[in-house]
Symmetry: none
Subunit: 152 residues, 2 copies
Amino acid sequence: MATSDLIAQFILNAIEESENGFAELRRSGLAERFSVVPSQINYVIQTRFSPEHGYIVESRRGGGGYIKITRVRHSPRSLVMNTINSVGTSLDLRTAYAFTENLYSEEIIGPQIRKLILAAVSDNALRPVEPSGRDTVRAAIYKNILLNLLGE
Amino acid sequence: MATSDLIAQFILNAIEESENGFAELRRSGLAERFSVVPSQINYVIQTRFSPEHGYIVESRRGGGGYIKITRVRHSPRSLVMNTINSVGTSLDLRTAYAFTENLYSEEIIGPQIRKLILAAVSDNALRPVEPSGRDTVRAAIYKNILLNLLGE
DNA sequence: CATTTTGACTTTCCCTGACTATAATAAGCT
DNA sequence: AGCTTATTATAGTCAGGGAAAGTCAAAATG
């Protein structure tokens, strides 16, 4: 398992353990704990705690600086609608994963639907589509599934 | 016996031995073990662990990369596997409907899943794909969904 | 001639380090 | 004391190197 995964897990755990739904961390301390350069913490945050994943990140530099990562919560319906709106005409695989995990962890979709969505928009499923066109197709499929999810 | 068969055997064995029904492998390591070039592993996977064979393949590149091969648990005679194998490389919308209705009436999928499958392979979802190519994409998506849905 | 094997090239992801930006605190200066 | 400047302590950005896995088509094999 890559170090970035471990760091992500650590942050996730810190948020879970917290009362208020956020973790306040020292970038330098975290880097030291995992024996990586500080900028790797930024990498982990950018790749795993983006708004698409359902987090907001605040920070402050200088003495007493910190990074605060908060899990955001929407009402179920607005989250689905927000997600649909966030998907433009193009959607890369990573972002699709992030959106779907977010919907899943908010319990808006169950494990089966999560699997269905990921299967439908995976590169495996889109194999016949030219790589350069996949993100466009992915976006269309993704939005269409979510729209049908809304109209129960 | 060809080396590819030995590699396939090895992978099969690894899956059997595993608790969870999947094997997580390092492509480079496997290639080295059998003294072949890494891309031969891809060849083995493509020819022997395809969806039609009942396997799900996931992977990750970069540091800490891996290939994960999951055997979908259900008898090869099941309606799902039959459906997957009936799809082939092309699937028109009417046939997709028919297959899905069949799965629904056999109570293998529920109403919501039925709806979402159809949403995923509808012409609306595939709008960015040129009409002449849609059936091919539809087939790939359809098979992938079915396979993943039943590998719970 | 179908299948297997190979290798050159591409893509993705992780990790690092040099450089930049900002905030708090300490040190000087009037 | 109050203002300005230097120092120190953080965090942010970006480009690049390296470690995997993916793709594709040509060559070898049976």
